[in-house]
């Protein structure tokens, strides 16, 4: 039984299986900040079973984008080598926590026999770190999109300046006026200018 494992919660051995380097780092940092000292990251999916046997974790986290989740599940089903972890919890009362984890995009496997209250906080940490990472990724996407849009407007301005001999300022206000008159977004008008210029070339 796992109850003869160290009783101090921060002594739990946590394994992160994630091919996304940044996300794994974000989770690791969060776990360490919460006082967990035994955190291992596994990025290489080769010989997964052998590696897990060697590492012997109490809790395994895997990102839900990882098709190797099915590999893990089978190991736990049949393996006599690995102490048997089970998919998150098998008890209906934990539906909320499972929902939170699935929403955040993290799967957790917990060694059978570990008491629920011992892992609640480590799971909460993982869920909140995954959420933080998702937010970060969203912000990055938005930033990238904003940059792309700015580039597009710059190109449209350049075309107007060259074709119509306008100053930069005049080119910009022309774009804005067109957008307002047609009730379209500035970037849409800029895209039309760029497309038209390409077609007329």
């Amino acid at each position: 039984m796992s109850e003869n494992r160290p009783s101090n919660d921060t002594a739990l051995h946590l394994l992160i299986v994630d091919q996304n380097v940044m996300r794994a780092a974000v989770l690791e940092e969060g776990l360490r900040e919460s006082g967990y000292v035994k955190v291992t990251i596994l990025r290489d999916m080769q010989n997964l079973l052998r590696r897990i046997v060697d590492i012997d974790p109490d809790v395994i986290f895997i990102d839900l984008e990882n098709p190797n989740r099915d590999v893990l599940e089978q190991m736990f089903q049949v393996s006599r080598v690995v102490r048997r972890p089970v998919a998150m919890f098998v008890d209906r009362s934990d539906a909320d926590m499972i929902e939170a984890a699935v929403d955040a995009g993290v799967g957790a496997y917990v060694v059978d026999g570990l008491r629920k209250e011992r892992i609640k906080s480590v799971l909460d940490t993982a869920v909140s770190r995954f959420r933080a990472f998702n937010k970060l990724r969203e912000e990055l996407d938005q930033a990238r999109q904003a940059l792309d849009e700015r580039k597009l407007v710059e190109r449209a301005k350049g075309i107007l300046m060259k074709e119509r001999g306008l100053s930069e300022e005049a080119a910009y206000s022309l774009l804005r006026k067109a957008a307002m008159n047609e009730n379209r977004k500035l970037t849409e008008v800029a895209q039309s200018v760029v497309t038209a210029a390409r077609l007329l070339r």
Partner: protein, 387 residues
Amino acid sequence: MLNSRAVVVGFIPLLDCAPLVVALEKGFAAAEGIDLTLVRESSWANIRDRVVVGHFDAAHMLGPMAIASTLGIGHLKVPTIAPLSLGRGGNAITVSHSLWDAMTRHGACSGADPRSQGNALQLVVRARERENKPPLTFAMVYPFSAHNYELRYWLAACGVDPDRDVRLLVIPPPLLVDAMREGQVDGFCVGEPWNSLAVSVGVGCIVAPTTAIWPLSAEKVLGCRLEWAQRRPDLLAALIRALYRAAQWCEVEQNQQELAMLLSQLRYVGAPAALLQRGIANRLRLQPDGEAVAIADFYLTARQQATFPWASHALWFYSQMIRWGQVRFSAGDLAQVRATFRPDLYRLALAPLDVDLPATDSRIEHGFFDGRSFDPDAFEAYLAQPI
């Protein structure tokens, strides 16, 4: 409620997600008044979890997975039902060239019946034992899958113990061909187009379609929570009708090229249309340098009542779960398993269409390659049979 006609369905990129894709792309779902969204998933575990938490109303599901969820094996116990089958067959067993070479030295020959292929494999396994070579490694896609049970059934009937004589792993379909190329697996059982891909890139050869092991074998289902089916019977019935019609469309010969093109898109299966075409047309190339051969009833979407969720299919899957130690027999479980596949809901949904339906919900499953048949009404006697 944002959109009371919205239905979100998860799927795994495999040939047999075809009726779902066609229901959406060819307007069968819209014609039934449902606003269908398909979400591509990367693992069966995700399909299960996202059905459980309600991200998906329904999903392209492994038949045995619906049963495992209903019984709560290895995960939350969530009553799950299968009110429609997503076709029959479509799987094959593929082996690496080096294993095939060894098998041919022991009498295997391309296109032969599964018994003689299996006997050859058994001789290879015994020879390796004598030579102290490590056991062969086979892969399938999920512990609760027809693939797992078909592969095990074949191995066991040919004298190879799937737990002792070989190593049996799960590898996700998109990673199988690479695993075989790198020598990590000697054989696998998977749905199309992955067998054809292994053949076309010269990594393996197909030793047997699993329909040679069990003709018209049960495969994927439309799975959903019982709770959703009870809350939205209107949407479920509309979805069943849309999928029934889509499955009919898939089988019309003139549509097959278009079907292959549709599925080849990255957001669906993302494999070359020419490879998908092989499974759709029931014509597989078994060897890289061989001709395509016709395999009767290799993959059916509609013919032979292919969408009917036979209760006997659920019960056969349950018999295999017990056989391979995933669960112990209980009369209570037996009743729950029987109630997981829902021919009654299928009949109810299709009543307005005036189509031919089977007279019974359960039947004796015949034609297993070892000569056995499965009588669901003599369940315990089947389990007790010597193998």
